[in-house]
């Protein structure tokens, strides 16, 4: 709990010792084995913890990290908010490069210090956080308990619309001294610490300078944010190219004592078209891009200068349903659809073999996962039988909304084709995000909706709440049984009891087929082979470049 170098923190994230050291001694082994090694994070991790889910193809690396160089990272759309509390983007390198999380967690939920040096659960509703004393915001003001209080209270304000503000409801924060913050919760909140390992939208981690925010106000702060992290802003152009340079005041070091980061510059470049980004990756115009659902993976794998880094099971793709409307309010009908979909075919077509058919809400990335939990297997005869039982005749008409981008329209078409085999007519509408939010989530105009998002890592409370809680159901359907189990999990005394409560939610989902779990797909980073020591962030959707370096 007291170690504070990059080695331990990166290990906690599941980055292998081998990768951290840059493959000391590995180069020769790699050369003997044909020039390329599988250098996954599971090298030191037989349990598949963290890095075990990561599959990397890379080149032999130099024995020692090289300082300097520029890393160019692609982002597909403009960042709206560099203000981390207002960000609702799941993958935002701008926010993640600037704001270090107070804590680091590995996949099993084991926490390591970062900005927060130590923490103590004083009783079930009181948590004490002690900060490092050598941290400064990029405007030179100290990172202290007042900043923690300011940042958390700001995220609790409904007007800021911070995605995870519900975790701060009723929380009182005291600052007995400059570097200690005591949080008093109205009821036990065992998942709060987890939220400090990530920035918005998944967590509450980012700290902002109260001085700068007070002086600038919301809108100006978004244009010139003041952060604490390994990088600081050199140039901010949220819809073009933002340039980040090392923060000279960043105190955390690598295992060997090296000052971090190694890179001279990180550029986040907005390139809307995936095909153009892949061309840039191939030609060396950019160094790192994220590819979802296997798009262009084969093309990247075929390039001698490129590698792919696969974070397996990082995303779940599922079909949500309006549980308050016929016929999707009938359990047998939902189960019929669950049996009618061949998930392995979805995995084969849409993930280049890197994903798997969905088995349920939880994946192996969380400690709450139970491999023995029941799941639906492809069985057309059973689907037809359940359809008959449901009283919904063949030829019934359904509608599903999907996104306009990426492979989503094609996934919609495959759902349509597969459900046709049991006699269901599905109309597929490809819609923009605000239209889906309005028509599917709020108004319940669609019976089915394709949903996708990061799979839970560590404690799955927030993920299960988002998927099954009453507050988030399309059309406003109430889910009292799930709500009760979520409350039970929150008040559970230990991890084992929480796991049991989560297991009951998973079972409830299976029995009622609230959602159809289509795919466990990976997050995939395509990057130049000369870039070394990239590590997946806790959110699983982007990579941490703090310890990354480029071979000359």
């Amino acid at each position: 709990m007291t170690s504070d170098n990059y080695w331990t923190r990166a290990m906690a994230r599941g980055v292998s010792r081998r990768r951290i050291l840059g493959g000391m001694g590995v180069a020769s082994v790699a050369l003997l084995s044909g020039g390329a090694i599988a250098c996954g994070g599971d090298d030191d991790d037989p349990e598949g913890d963290g890095g075990g889910s990561t599959e990397t193809t890379t080149t032999p690396v130099a024995s020692k990290p090289v300082r300097g160089g520029t890393l160019i990272v692609r982002r597909p759309s403009a960042t709206t908010f560099a203000d981390p509390h207002r960000s609702s983007s799941g993958y935002d390198p701008t926010v993640n490069h600037l704001y270090a999380a107070p804590l680091i967690a590995n996949v099993k939920g084991k926490l390591s210090p970062s900005l927060v040096e130590s923490w103590e659960q004083m009783d079930v509703t009181t948590l004490k956080l002690t900060l490092r004393k050598d941290l400064k915001f990029t405007d030179g003001t100290p990172v202290n308990a007042a900043a923690v209080k300011y940042s958390l209270e700001r995220q609790a304000d409904p007007k800021v619309a911070a995605p995870r503000r519900s975790l701060l409801t009723g929380v009182k924060i005291e600052t007995p001294d400059d570097y200690t913050a005591v949080l008093k919760f109205p009821k036990p909140n065992p998942v709060f610490l987890e939220s400090l390992t990530m920035n918005a939208p998944a967590g509450l981690g980012a700290l902002i300078s109260p001085t700068a925010h007070g002086k600038l106000g919301d809108d100006k702060f978004n244009e010139a944010p003041v952060s604490v992290g390994p990088f600081k802003i050199d140039k901010l152009a949220l819809d073009a190219e933002s340039v980040f340079v090392p923060n000279p005041d960043w105190p955390l070091t690598a295992a060997n004592g090296d000052k971090l980061p190694y890179l001279d510059k990180v550029i986040v470049k907005v390139i809307p078209q995936t095909a153009v980004a892949v061309a840039e990756l191939q030609s060396g115009g950019i160094d790192l891009d994220y590819v979802y659902l296997g798009e262009n993976v084969a093309q990247i794998k075929g390039q001698a200068n490129l590698a792919v880094n696969v974070n397996k099971g990082a995303i779940t793709q599922r079909i949500g349903m309006n549980l308050g409307k016929a016929p999707t309010n009938i359990v047998a009908f939902r189960q019929a659809m669950s049996y009618a979909l061949d998930r392995e075919e979805f995995a084969a077509v849409f993930t280049d073999g890197l994903g798997e058919g969905g088995r349920g809400p939880l994946t192996a990335l969380t400690w709450a996962y139970d491999a023995a939990a029941p799941h639906y297997a492809y069985d057309v005869a059973k689907a037809k039988s359940l359809l008959a039982q449901s009283g919904v005749g063949e030829g019934a008409k359904l509608n599903i909304c999907t996104y306009t981008s990426g492979v989503y329209p094609r996934i919609g078409e495959m759902i349509q084709a597969q459900l046709k085999k049991i006699g269901l007519e599905v109309q597929v509408d490809n819609l923009e995000v605000p239209v889906i939010t309005e028509k599917y989530r709020k108004n319940g105009e669609y019976l089915l909706g394709l949903e996708g998002g990061g799979a839970p890592q560590g404690d799955p409370y927030q993920y299960l709440e988002t998927n099954f809680g009453s507050a988030n159901q399309p059309g406003g359907t109430k889910m009292p049984e799930v709500d009760a189990l979520l409350a039970k999990a929150l008040s559970a005394a230990n991890e084992e009891e929480r796991k049991k409560a989560y297991g009951e939610i998973v079972k409830l989902d299976y029995d009622n087929s609230y959602k159809i779990w289509l795919l466990e797909s990976p997050t995939i980073a395509g990057h130049a082979k000369k870039v070394q020591d990239l590590a997946w962030l806790r959110s699983g959707s982007a990579m941490d470049v703090t310890a990354a370096w480029k071979q000359a």
């Binding site: 409904p158 152009a237 078209q273 153009v276 239209v435 939010t437």
Partner: protein, 317 residues
Amino acid sequence: MTAYIIRRILQMPVVILMVTFALFVIMHLLPGDPIYAMIGESEASIDPEVIEELRGELGLDDPVLVQYLDWASDLLRGDLGRSFRDRSSVTDAITDRMPVTLQLGLLSLFVAICVGVPAGTIAAVKRNSPIDAFVTLFAMFGVAVPNFWFSMMLIWVFVVELRWLPASGFVALWSDPIEALRHMALPVAALGLTLSGSIMRYTRSSVLEVLNQDSVSTEKAKGMSQRTVIVRHALRNSLLPVATIIGLQLGSLLAGSIIIESMFALPGIGRLAIQSINGRDYPMLQGVVLLFTVTVLVVNLLTDISYAILDPRIRYS
């Protein structure tokens, strides 16, 4: 002439009001609440009171006509409002992106004219020759081929295969001219060469028409060289309709910039327009459309005026 120009200028505000009001109504008819676009999909569970408060702050709870009149009255005070998406100033956002679109537009127009006018002239002079056939084919290609496809082909050849040029990003001409030209080469080629097709076709037919006139035959009979006849007489006289076409190409240029800026990751006004549509950012889109409308109106007026100046026979009443 003066009366004509004044009348045209006075008509402009009416056209601007009609265009912006039509757009305002269309945007409001589109499905997709700007509030949800603003706060993101994950916020479907946001407190309804907060949503209503945000709606009130942005004026979205007023009737569309009232919202429009508010926008128009702010416009008269020189205020284009603030973006719904990130609360930045619309005027600043447009001003920041203007150099990108101007650089792309002017260079593309330059390339289109430099390619289109000479090629069209040569095709006319060498009528029915293989050169004419090639130029006509090229012109048809330019008119018919979609910008995005041509862009992808250019990227494949010059970025992926040859690795000569970058496929994305913007560098201002005044900051680093060489890098700026490298970054602009492909977008300008994609936009300029497709635009040159129309210019080529009009130049060819216009030069042909002039070459068939009696005055040209007389000049040839007087012993003037073909070069003098073509450059001094035929081309000069035929450029009048071509100038008009170049002016009218502005609409295509602006429409093309929307696609090209997205393809080549240029942070210009075209890409801002797409972002604004996707994000239901009404004030930003209104600002962009206003700029496009005023630009087209002004350029059309300048084209009409230049037409009268270049041809003294033309009189506007």
